[in-house]
């Protein structure tokens, strides 16, 4: 008799499946990244002041990532609801904690890749030169922030998946909740890039905050996701 997979194995299975689907559909590379890049370019035209752009760059990067989160999270559950797969997962008794962790992991990977592209775009477009040691804060804060965004996005996208008008409901639910992540990530990147007049070391408390939010979001998601995806 076969043994059903545990939480970790389920999460790995779901994450691998979601990433495979995204790799084939290329929605992130062909639609979300160009959308985010256009945002960055438009900001550059709108502000048209290299000094101001340098100061605003961290906020612009994370605002763009947050907008992209909405698209990616919608997409993550569109593939589940297109042919009734989410209901089939529930009927099949697949562990909702595993589903949550798997989907959040896949979303975090996509967002991290997106954030990396956006930071590079900001460095080039806004003519920034990060100080030595800033890269570690940059990467660590990006990991923590994308995990926090992915966990929160997965919770609310799962909640909105079965609701009519979910496309407009999701931003309304997610944007206020992720504002601490937006603020923390912006401050950490300011420190990492040296654009806010602060030292690189000043970024670490913000990284700590992001790590706490990421863990708290993951715990809340694991505890509530089963109820969120119920009819």
């Amino acid at each position: 008799m076969s043994t059903p997979p545990g939480v970790v194995a389920t999460a790995r299975m779901i994450a691998a499946r979601d990433l495979r689907i995204e790799w084939r559909a290329r929605v992130v590379t062909n639609q979300v990244i160009p959308f985010a890049a256009v945002n960055m370019v438009l900001f550059a035209f709108a502000v048209d002041d290299t000094g101001a752009l340098g100061r605003l760059a961290p906020g612009l990067v994370w605002l763009t990532v947050m907008f992209s989160l909405l698209l990616c999270a919608q997409r993550a559950f569109a593939i589940e609801s297109a042919d009734g797969a989410l209901e089939a997962l529930r009927v099949a008794g697949v562990d909702p904690v595993g589903i949550f962790l798997g989907k959040a992991t896949a979303l975090a990977v996509q967002l991290f890749a997106l954030a990396a592209v956006m930071v590079l775009a900001a460095l080039i477009l806004y003519d920034l030169d990060p100080p030595a040691g800033g890269v570690v804060v940059l990467v660590t804060s990006a990991i923590c922030a994308t995990c926090a965004l992915a966990a929160t996005g997965t919770i609310y996208a799962g909640l909105a998946a079965g609701v009519s008008g979910r496309e407009t409901l999701l931003p309304l639910l997610v944007v206020p909740v992720v504002s601490p992540v937006l603020i923390g990530a912006t401050r950490a990147v300011e420190a990492a890039l040296g654009t806010g007049g602060t030292a690189v070391a000043d970024g670490w408390p913000w990284v700590g905050l992001l790590a706490v939010v990421a863990v708290a979001s993951a715990v809340v998601g694991a505890l509530t996701f089963g109820s969120a995806i119920r009819d």
């Binding site: 076969s2 997979p5 389920t10 559909a25």
Partner: protein, 235 residues
């Protein structure tokens, strides 16, 4: 071992009936949707290994019976025991033993047929042998295995979805309007596959508007009207 044979699980004696023969026992089951009773006191006794057809007009309660048996709904009054498990208590132990296909197939368009069946098999820890056997049983050719399901016809998609149930070795198949969207050949093929599943020990319950087709293929026909059983025929 035939691909349809259900997993080697201990059967739980049905407390109400003292045997393991009953796959589904509904007693005066009432399910209320809003202010409307979708089921208004249904009594039903389905034996294991039978092919059961639920017939009736729209709104008769066919889908509600299937969703109740899948543990997606709980009875507001009366009892519902499925594979020995009381759905009102906790349907969780039931979940891995029941396969439900609603009007949709639960497939991922950008995965191939093989990847879809492998995914659903892996949700219960079933292996590659189970997947291969299920694909063969559902007559999914080598040519179709590696095609993304977005490129398959409605009938082919249905077969891939059923292969997922077979690979999971579900004891009870619940199929809501499985013939919808299929041409005549695909319907005939589906009927043959469902019959083979029931003959191999799975209990198959399906709903349909197609009275003649259901009459011709099932062991146990159940007519529903306005949330009640109006007629039952057993062969």
């Amino acid at each position: 071992m035939t691909p349809f044979m259900t997993a080697d699980r201990p059967t739980t004696p049905d407390r109400d009936h003292g045997s393991t023969d009953a796959a589904v026992v509904l007693e005066a089951a009432v399910v209320v949707m809003g202010a409307f009773p979708a089921l208004a006191g249904v009594d039903l006794d389905v034996r294991r290994g039978t092919l059961v057809g639920l017939r009736g007009p729209n709104g008769a309660g066919k889908t509600t019976v299937l969703r109740l048996c899948a543990g997606l709904l709980r009875p507001d009054r009366g009892t519902a025991r499925v594979l020995g498990v009381d759905v009102a208590d906790d349907p969780a132990p039931l979940r891995r033993r029941v396969g439900y296909l609603g009007h949709s197939n639960g497939l991922y368009d950008d995965l191939t047929a093989l990847e879809n069946v492998t995914f659903w098999a892996s949700t219960v820890g079933a292996g590659r042998d189970d997947v291969d056997a299920a694909m063969a049983a559902m007559e999914i050719s080598d040519r179709l295995r590696d095609v993304r399901v977005r490129h398959l016809s409605a009938g082919q998609r249905r077969r891939v979805a059923l292969a997922g149930l077979v690979a999971r070795r579900c004891e009870l198949w619940l199929l809501d309007e499985p013939h919808t969207g299929l041409d005549v050949d695909a319907r005939d093929q589906l009927d043959r596959l469902l019959r083979a599943g029931a003959d191999a020990g799975a209990t198959v319950m399906l709903s349909s508007h197609d009275l003649d087709r259901v009459d011709a293929m099932v062991d146990h026909g159940v007519d529903l009207v306005a949330g009640r059983v109006s007629r039952e025929v057993r062969r």
